[in-house]
Amino acid sequence: MTLSINVKKQLGKLSLQADLQIDQGLTVLLGPSGCGKTTLLNLIAGLMVPDKGEIIFGEKVYYHSETKCHVPVYKRNVGYVFQAPTLFPHLTIKENILYGAGRQAEKELHHLLSLLRIEKLEQRMPVQISGGQAQRVALARALITKPNILLLDEPFSSLDNFVRQKVRVDLMNVLKEYNIPAILVTHDLEEALMLGDKIAVMDEGNILQYGLAKEIFTRPANRKVARFVGMKNIYQGRVKEAVPHKGVLIEGKKFDVEVPYFPVIEGTNVVFGIRPEDVLYLRPERDFSVKENTLKVRIVNIIEEKSLYRLLLRVTTDYYDIEMLLPRHVVDKRGLKAGDFCKVSLQKKALHIIED
């Protein structure tokens, strides 16, 4: 069942334009605030009407501007989990969950309650339960109606970190069992990578790149996407030499690199990048044989992060040129500190050419 979207919508300063085919699995709409991802979700749900285009799910036409067709929200059979729990405050948890379902759903109810770990809350009122519990109730409420597609708008943003992790797992369990396509909106990269089968990166109303999560992460299509997926080291250069079966030599503004061969004309300007975690630290006594794009660098700063250290390295006269991530034990064992010199290697296969 494919959801085919091709819509245009003008909302104040935002010009949204999206052309996507969404299949089974969980698709993430990733982007900064205001990029239009929630608007796109609302267009799919029917809560907003596009200016032009069509939205077709399988054989059902939800919206078609040519034929002036707009199926109202309540006929689309989509499940929607909002950013804030949005439970009906005057109904019990049980009544909330069964709100949109028929009478037969009572059996389904108990199964969902245990799957989402919210048994024994049936008779409570929404004010009496926690945020994490409320979001799970909202999820149950949406799923019990057996929707064609599940839409989630930053469902975990109102939860604290610890609860967030747990509810994410709950969501994955539930999606696995119900096997309905889902679209999740988030601005959190980690969340996108953890949950998404496919990711659509959005910015300022446009879809910058759409593909498998791994693809987006390692092979961002352009600079904006690269920055968004955390590829911090982005450099400009010019192709000096391109030799088939051997490689491409790039004369970078900061340093030269050699990358695996790809068809390109010598003299072309390119942009390339490498993820901070792919910058290889060369141990002086052991890694002297590594020859790929080795650079002597000076450590400018070491920033402590959750479980790693982020090292800012300098090659040129700029403040810093390369970001490298290293596990704590490496930095501590080696006694690395700002001011030290060391050698790193930019592995050819980790270098990625970004079209600009």
Binding site: V73, Y74, F82, A142
Partner: protein, 258 residues
């Protein structure tokens, strides 16, 4: 209140805080001080009293019913939709609240009387009838209800309605299952205030409906009439109305504090 900001022992503060409440309570108590149980019982059986009770209650019940039936959809539209001329409509609905009641009476006469705008077109003459009382009450009381209903509807979060729609419930059923239950306290408060206003209406009623006992003589009109002929009866009706007002106040506070 910060220490030193207001010294409650300071006589000026006490005076200003107490003068207005005193001014309100003294006249009210005075009504009751002039009554005896015997008087009350005998007066209630006088036609001037029980006829007025009958007219007031029957007209106000009908008025309120009509106000709710006509006012609720209006309030809902004002609360949820944005359209050209909305502000104008909003102000229009509020207008009777700022108009002098006597003027309202004259206006109604000019519209629905024998030679009025509507009166002439439809061959009606509603003035000085039971229906006129109802119309006058609706005119002055409707804004109270519509205003309260509008803000009650507005207080229901939009996301709840959206959630209901995504769960497959039509907008009509969403109103009954979500919007109405959540705005009920506010609606009830508005209804009660509106009813109190309708009961107390004098100026428009006497101008448009006249003062015919048993037909258009409401409780306030009866007080006015009784003041000349049967002073004690006026006292009794007044006392009754004070009790009703107190009941209204308590009821509204109870309902809207939920």
């Amino acid at each position: 209140m910060l220490a030193g900001e207001i010294n409650v022992k300071n006589v000026w503060w006490v005076l200003s805080a107490v003068l207005l409440p005193l001014f309100i309570i003294i006249p009210i108590i005075s009504i009751f001080l002039n009554l005896e149980i015997g008087t009350v019982i005998s007066k209630i059986n006088q036609p001037i009293v029980y006829e007025a009770l009958r007219v007031s209650f029957s007209t106000s019940l009908i008025s309120i019913l009509l106000v709710v039936i006509l006012g609720t959809p209006l309030a809902y539209v004002l609360a949820s939709k944005d359209f050209k001329g909305k502000r104008l409509l909003d102000s229009l609905v509020d207008l009777p609240m700022v108009m002098p009641p006597a003027v309202a009476g004259v206006a109604l006469l000019m519209a629905f009387g024998r030679r009025g705008l509507i009166g002439q077109s439809f061959g009606l003459n509603v003035s000085f009838t039971f229906a006129a009382v109802v119309l006058a009450q609706i005119f002055v009381a409707a804004p109270f209800f519509v205003r309260a209903a509008k803000s009650s509807f507005q207080a229901v979060p939009k996301e709840l309605k959206s959630a209901s729609l995504t769960l497959g419930v039509t907008p009509w059923r969403t109103f009954w299952r979500v919007t109405l239950p959540l705005s009920a306290p506010g609606l009830m408060g508005g209804l009660v205030m509106s009813w109190a206003r309708a009961l107390g209406e004098f100026g428009a009623t006497i101008m448009f409906a006249g003062n015919f006992r048993g037909v258009t003589q409401t409780l306030p009109l009866a007080i006015y009439t009784a003041m000349e002929s049967d002073f004690q009866a006026a006292m009794v009706i007044s006392a009754l109305m004070v009790i009703i007002s107190l009941a209204v106040l308590i009821l509204v506070r109870h309902l809207t504090n939920q």
